[in-house]
């Protein structure tokens, strides 16, 4: 198991170097002069020249990359030129918010998606199955921003139960925090639940028709145990991968949902940074999320190995 983990970690390093080059390189392809955007409405030529110098835009690409890489290796992701704040600090501010939102959303998705998928597979062809499929289809086809605005109109404007938008830290007031997170987390979790439900259903159907399940049933194992202990455990492997990937996507920022609910997380941070050509923020946040993604994949791989010992041997 240890060798397996070490081997997997070793593959991360070249991936990260490649990713850092890709992030930096792709950003240079973005059209528009960042200095001109950051110079604001007046676009004073002396300000533009100063910004170009500060951002090393007057240097060739490899030099700019090395400047950035040197900073990254020293733990310095640069400074937002628009907000005059260190990128590391911005990430540290936004990460807990996005992490909390992603965790609540994924819990909502798991609580809805997996049981619905299991019921749908076990009760295949019945009203339960059709009902779960309709719900999944609704979850998949409802745009997040539309659902978000509808929830705001219902629960905030009409009923007045929940705040329309904004974020309160759990350390300030945990009740207010929960109230501000429940709608955006539901919007995000709802879409993921639908995907999880579909995948759980198909994985369960496949497993339920396999030989060992038939053997278990022939041996007289209780149907509940067949489903939960024998079938679900195997069916969970692709679901874990999917869950990790969806969680990674949530970490990289649920852009529209954060925009609608004005949640100050990664999504809003990166969108604003891209539109304002705040290169340091874009590079820092993308590098961070790419790293998080890679690490989550590693965690998923290790989880496979725990759930299915054959993977370790292979």
């Amino acid at each position: 198991m240890t060798t397996f983990i070490i081997r997997r970690i070793a593959t991360i390093i070249p991936t990260l170097i490649f990713v850092s080059l890709l992030i930096f390189g792709l950003q240079q392809l973005l059209p528009g002069d960042p200095a001109m955007i950051l110079a604001g409405e007046e676009r004073d030529p002396t300000v533009i020249a100063h910004l170009r110098e500060t951002m090393h835009l007057d240097q060739p690409f490899p030099v700019r990359y090395l400047y950035w890489l040197r900073g990254v290796l020293h733990g310095d992701l640069g400074e937002s030129l628009r907000l005059q704040q260190p990128v590391r600090g911005l990430i540290a501010d936004k990460l807990p918010v996005t992490l909390e939102l992603a965790c609540i959303a994924i819990v909502i998705a798991l609580v809805i998606g997996i049981p619905a998928g299991v019921v749908s597979a076990v009760k295949r062809g019945t009203a339960w199955d059709y009902g779960a499929n309709v719900v999944a289809l609704w979850g998949l086809s409802t745009p997040n921003f539309w659902l978000g605005i509808m929830l705001i109109l219902l629960f905030s404007v009409t009923l007045g139960w929940l705040p329309a938008s904004g974020y309160v830290s759990p350390f300030e007031d945990w009740r207010a925090n929960l109230a501000s997170m429940i709608m955006p987390a539901f919007v995000l979790g709802n879409a993921i639940a639908a995907v999880l439900m579909r995948h759980t259903r198909s994985a369960m159907l496949q497993v339920l028709s396999s030989d060992y399940v038939r053997t278990a049933r022939a041996k007289g194992v209780l149907e509940r145990d067949v489903v939960l202990k024998h079938a679900l455990r195997n069916a969970l492997i692709p679901i874990i991968t999917l869950g990790a990937l969806e969680f990674g996507t949530l970490l990289s920022g649920a852009v529209l949902t954060e925009q609608v609910f004005t949640i100050p997380g990664f999504g809003k941070l990166i969108v604003d940074a891209v539109f304002n050509r705040d290169y340091a923020v874009v590079q820092g946040v993308v590098l961070f999320t790419a790293t998080a993604y890679i690490v989550l994949n590693l965690v998923a791989d290790v989880a496979y190995a725990i759930v299915n010992p054959r993977i370790r041997v292979q």
Partner: protein, 504 residues
């Protein structure tokens, strides 16, 4: 008896505390964007100026009629040759850190605006040569040449005075915790979430401050901003969506205030920014540009693009502005004349690309202009381009025509000089005429309003015929707020002055 006394005292204290608590009032304002850095020297955005209006007082301010009125200045006097401005300061002003606001602080701030690396105020104060401290309460600003827009510049960020002690200590990080002399002091900022200000107890005009806190919350989506107002989480929102006006008007819990902006919406035409200008009949032939303008119904554009929430206009200032050139009124739509002009120019179906940022209002303008001009024979292709990219293309002259808005400045100079002066930074049209430069420069050297009005009239006669920019309309700033709010002053720059505002 002592126990009874204690009980009574406790009740009185509790009652007093509850009264104090009841009066602790917070004004929550919904902003359309997240402001950039809160350093008056480095700040660049319009929305940041809304926060500064509560945080940093300026030497001067503007009133409802765009008159310049003293704020930190008590009085001022120009020298006979208009090359020196002497300002007497209010005697009783302190910064939020308790330091005294005196002539030395003014000198420091103005010099900081002039010399700090990356300062956005340097251009605004370009004619300012030196600042003399005459005495503790008097400064003299010495100019290289007379500069009539100076007072208007000092009524904006260039006139904001910062605490020298705090600015020296913080260096270029001053924006993280700005220390000024406004009615509210900085408490905290969570980027993209909130900016919290607290009443400054020693404010020079504290009688006009009626809130303990002001909280600014950036909420970019106008529907969500309005939902927050309707659910009671906000007291005030700026830039209400024009399509939401009927909804606010129909609800007695809210009020609406409209102010015509000092900026404009217009279409910039490439006249000489690149070779592309001469390859297109629109850039090449003034008759084609005239035909294009005559094909447009400005009132119709306001109706369709902005739900009627704007005033049609054909100049860099609104028709209600004292500097509006009445000799060049808004031309009425005239399709027959437009077609005749195209015939005369030998291009009955001119074709060009209209570049537009991806914002909803700019796209609506482009679509309605396309439809109107088609009736005169124009074939317009709309090119929707992300804002930063569009700006880059405009700067390189890679466009035929470009839908572009300007937030406006109090002095008309701020709406025209940088756009129509040869080689000026905002002259995307590539327009350059020595006689225009001459008038622009002369309008800067005279302070006489009648003389300046005459010069702007001369300018209008030339520029509006050449059409580097076809001005379309001036938007209404739309403010929606809880009906318990009173005392709001609608100033055309669209910035909310929180002094004088209170809950009923």
């Amino acid at each position: 008896m002592p126990n009874g006394f204690r009980r009574c005292a406790l009740i009185v204290v509790c009652a007093l505390l509850s009264v104090i608590n009841a009066h602790a009032q917070t004004l929550r304002i919904g902003l359309a964007e997240d402001p950039d850095v809160l350093d008056p020297t480095l700040a660049r955005s319009f929305v940041g100026r809304i926060v500064f209006a509560a945080l940093c007082d300026k030497l001067f301010d503007i009133d409802e009629k765009l008159n310049i009125v003293p704020q930190l200045a008590a009085s001022y006097e120009w020298s006979a040759d208009s090359k020196a401005l002497t300002i007497k300061l209010r005697p009783d002003v302190t910064f939020h850190d308790g330091e005294k606001l005196d002539a030395a602080a003014v000198k420091y701030s103005l010099e900081r605006h002039k010399t700090m690396a990356g300062s956005n105020r340097r251009g605004e104060l370009a004619p300012l040569a030196t600042v003399d401290v005459v005495d503790a309460a008097t400064v003299r600003l010495n100019l290289t040449a007379p500069f009539s827009p100076l007072l208007a510049q000092l009524a904006d960020r260039a006139g904001m005075i910062v605490s020298p002690k705090a600015a020296q200590a913080a260096g270029d990080k001053f924006g993280a915790k700005p220390v000024c002399a406004g009615p509210f002091k900085f408490v905290e900022r969570v980027a993209q979430d909130r900016i919290v200000l607290e009443r400054y107890a020693n404010y020079w005009n504290k009688g006009d401050v009626h809130f303990d806190r002001v909280v600014f919350l950036p909420i970019p989506d106008s529907t969500v901003r309005l939902a927050n107002l309707r659910s009671g989480q906000l007291d005030f929102i700026e830039r209400l969506g024009s399509s939401d006006v009927p909804q606010v008007k129909a609800d007695s819990r809210f009020r609406l205030t409209k102010i015509t902006e000092i900026g404009y919406q217009g279409i910039t035409i490439n006249l000489g920014k690149s070779d592309l200008a001469q390859k297109n009949p629109l850039g090449r032939d003034p008759r084609v540009r005239e035909a294009f303008e005559l094909a447009l119904d400005r009132d119709g554009i306001v109706q369709v693009a902005n739900d009627g929430e704007g005033d049609a206009g054909n100049q860099w200032v609104a028709p209600t502005n004292p500097f509006y050139a009445k000799t060049v009124p808004i031309p009425a739509r005239n399709l027959a004349r437009a077609k005749a002009l195209l015939q005369e120019a030998g291009v009955t179906n001119p074709s060009f690309t209209l570049m537009t940022p991806t914002t909803a209002d700019a796209q609506r303008i482009a679509q309605v202009v396309q439809a109107m001009a088609r009736e005169a024979g124009f074939d317009i292709k709309i090119q929707s381009t992300e804002f930063a990219t569009s700006l880059d293309l405009a700067d390189k002259g890679q466009f035929d025509a470009y839908v572009l808005a300007w937030s406006g400045r109090a002095d008309p100079d701020g709406n025209i000089f940088s756009f129509d002066g040869c080689k000026q930074p905002l002259n995307y049209a590539g327009y350059c005429k020595p006689e225009v430069d001459d008038i622009l420069n002369r309008s800067r050297t005279t302070r006489d309003v009648a003389e300046r009005t005459k010069l702007f009239g001369e300018l209008a006669a030339i520029v509006l015929k050449d059409r580097p920019i076809v001005y379309l309309y001036h938007r209404h700033w739309l403010w929606a707020y809880a009906s318990k709010i009173e005392g709001l002053r609608p100033i055309p720059d669209g910035l909310v002055r929180v002094t004088g505002v209170r809950f009923k």
